[in-house]
């Protein structure tokens, strides 16, 4: 099972400048809107938008497209593979959102009484740790499930 985390910088060549610009645009727009909403409706409503899946459609579409193109280069229909890749990425984001929840809780609890820079940095580190731990737990659970299923097939 290939699950080791690795880095592939050449993957950046698969993206175009317009795709980078699109994500910058969406991110900028949501951040600006969050500021405007805070001005008009207050921090309680604006805070909801801080966990808005702003670039999710753009990212999922990009992943689906790349995966589909890879398969089609080899003469295969990549539609199913493209959707599966986008699905797996979305599952990863669901795990990351648990880290996001922890990030928000830390800032809520600690930012009024401590240095904002320290709290924001610590919350970001905790976001990464929680996300990775949840990802590891899910990965191990899947491995155990796969082994159990294959053992059951051998019986």
């Amino acid at each position: 099972m290939k699950t080791a985390v690795r880095m592939n910088v050449s993957a950046l060549r698969d993206s175009t400048w317009s795709q980078f610009a699109l994500r910058f645009l969406f991110g900028g727009i949501v951040t600006a809107i969050a500021g405007l909403v805070a001005q008009h409706y207050g921090p309680v409503i604006a805070g909801l938008l801080l966990a808005f899946p702003a670039i999710f459609p753009a990212s999922a579409t990009l992943i689906e497209k790349h995966e589909k193109q890879e398969k089609e280069k080899n003469g295969m229909n990549g539609s199913v593979r493209g959707r599966q890749a986008a699905s797996v990425d979305a599952a990863g984001s669901a795990m990351g959102s648990l880290g996001l929840l922890t990030f928000a809780a830390i800032i809520w609890q600690f930012v009024p009484a401590h240095s904002a820079a320290v709290v924001l940095s610590a919350a970001t580190i905790v976001w990464a740790l929680v996300s990775v731990v949840v990802w590891q737990i899910r990965k191990r659970a899947r491995i155990v499930r796969t082994h159990a299923t294959s053992r059951a097939h051998h019986l």
Binding site: R6, L48, F56, A60, S87, S97, L120
Partner: protein, 113 residues
């Protein structure tokens, strides 16, 4: 106006940086973690603390917990549909977006209001 432009630039940069990190990482499920990176939140909260104070930022962060729960349900739903049904990623994510709003504002009405 200048404040909005600064928010736009800082938010766009933060989102792009996390998205780039996600682009170069494998496997896909691990890269997906960066789809839920606190990019907009970092940009917004850092600016909010400096302009409106820490208590104001804490209120935004409390609401963000509700937004993150909505994000979890939204992303899980998108993943489930894409794995089982032959719809495009763009179509599924856009159609699921109202669920994020419904859950976030539903929870806000029940828990935070």
């Amino acid at each position: 106006m200048i404040q909005i432009v600064i928010r736009f630039l800082v938010g766009g940069a933060a989102v792009s940086i996390f998205a780039l990190i996600g682009d170069v990482l494998k496997p896909k499920s691990f890269a997906g973690l960066f789809g839920a990176a606190p990019s907009v939140a970092l940009a917004t909260l850092a600016l909010t603390v400096t302009t409106k104070g820490a208590s104001y930022a804490a209120l935004e962060a409390r609401s963000m917990i509700v937004g993150a729960i909505a994000f979890f349900i939204f992303a899980s739903l998108v993943s489930w549909i894409l794995m089982r049904y032959p719809f495009s990623a763009l179509w599924v994510t856009l159609c699921a977006m109202p669920f994020w709003f419904a859950i976030a504002f539903g929870l806000w009405a029940v828990v935070l209001r």
